[in-house]
Amino acid sequence: MTGDVERYLAVGAVLFILGALGFLTRRNLIMMMLSAEMMLHGVSLTLVTFGRLHNTIEGQAFTIFALTVAACEAGLALALILALFQQSQSLDVDLWSGLREPDLPAPTSGEPAVLPAPTEQEFPRLAPAGRAPQISRTSEGAGGMGSLAAGASPASNQPLGSR
């Protein structure tokens, strides 16, 4: 026999705990993020309930901010997940257990996760833009222009000539 507020708070608590349980237990990065979003749902429900209890709109305003932060978090987390997936071709979070503190034991979750052999890293490279600059401060006239234009295409020479 309980009041009206308590049952909403109870549902919020159950949602939060279920999300925490999923976050602790699942090994898939995407499932972990989904569980974190479910924890946010529980918190939102609690905020709205308390706002209604005190007859104020602040609970709903806070929930809208929580919604904003959840959207940011989802976008950033999915970008991170994609970046990690490009490195390891897998969504297993245990592959990244090497990032833990050095004095902590390794996670025990059944089979040990194997990081696949790294393919060659693709670094960003600069696009070829124009010609290599040859700076000569002594001559500014036609001779200087001639030495500058050596080995360059006429199209890329055009803005320099107009100067």
């Binding site: 309980t2 009041g3 009206d4 507020v5 308590e6 049952r7 909403y8 608590a13 159950v14 949602l15 939060f16 705990i17 925490a20 349980l21 602790l24 237990t25 699942r26 090994r27 898939n28 995407i30 989904l34 569980s35 979003e37 479910m38 749902h41 939102s44 429900l45 709205v48 309930t49 209604r52 209890l53 007859n55 104020t56 709109i57 602040e58 305003a61 901010f65 904003t68 932060v69 959840a70 959207a71 940011c72 989802a74 976008g75 950033l76 970008a79 997940i81 970046a83 997936f85 490009q86 897998s90 969504l91 996670p107 979750s109 089979e111 693709e122 960003p124 490279r125 600069l126 696009a127």
Partner: protein
């Protein structure tokens, strides 16, 4: 022991739910899923029995139990699903049920915004990432959980503590709006409210868009600006972090 004897139904509900969820978790030795569903269902029903209010309109009762039961059961199915795609779809159902609870809590704008943001944007993005990143077939890490027994016990001990704390607080029922408003305005005569624009007007319901807009753009104007800046920074960060093949800068 005394407390457990007094709240035997609540403890039974929590134990049943914990056992059902433990059976449902993906493990090396799969227990029968039907057993897990039955245990979880029994636990949710027992939890609902402990939460029957003293007096409440029948319609609200039915809607509350419909939405909250759907939310909890879909949440259980989400965290125990063997495939992330099913997990994302169950999470969409959780979101819709929570929006139903928002509507019951007189927050219609919030319900609409949550549906638009979560179901319309976040879940679709999750599904895109699953399609980009998930290989076909079952992957090992989806079929194994990390310490399911310990995590379930710990989580449900915490849930029991939370529910007991909420129950001890004796928050009671929500008073009718007119009474509450008059009480608050009487208090306002003595102490000025901290956020005066966040109090609903006496002639308006609690969750009207007018009141919410007054609160957001009155009391929390700087917070709204900060939230916009946060969105901008997060979008820049997401663009920077996301990998590109054949990257040319």
């Amino acid at each position: 022991m005394n407390w457990i004897a007094e709240h035997i139904l609540l403890v039974t509900a929590l134990v049943l739910m914990a056992a059902g969820i433990f059976v449902l978790f993906p493990k090396r030795v799969l227990l029968p899923r039907t057993l897990g569903w039955l245990l979880t269902l029994a636990g949710v029903v027992a939890l609902a029995v402990t939460l029957i209010p003293e007096e409440s309109p029948l319609t609200e009762n039915i809607l509350f139990y419909l939405f909250s039961g759907t939310a909890i059961l879909c949440g259980v199915l989400m965290i125990t699903s063997h495939y992330p795609v099913y997990g994302a779809l169950w999470f969409a159902l959780v979101t819709l049920s929570v929006c139903g609870l928002f509507l019951l809590q007189s927050a219609p704008f919030l319900a609409a915004a949550t549906i638009v943001v979560y179901a319309g944007a976040i879940i679709v993005t999750f599904l895109f990432v699953i399609m980009l990143a998930q290989q076909s077939g079952r992957s090992v890490y989806d079929q194994r959980s990390r310490q399911p027994l310990l995590a379930t016990i710990g989580a449900f001990v915490m849930l029991g503590a939370l529910l007991a704390t909420i129950h001890e607080a004796k928050l009671g029922s929500i008073e009718p709006v007119a009474v509450a408003t008059s009480k608050i305005s009487a208090e306002q005569a003595e102490v000025p409210a901290i956020n005066p624009l966040s109090q609903p007007r006496p002639d308006q319901p609690l969750g009207s868009m007018h009141g919410l807009g007054r609160s957001l753009f009155g009391d929390y104007l700087f917070a709204v600006e900060l939230a916009g800046t946060l969105l901008l920074i997060a979008s820049i960060g997401a663009i920077l972090l996301s990998p590109r093949k054949g990257q040319v800068t």
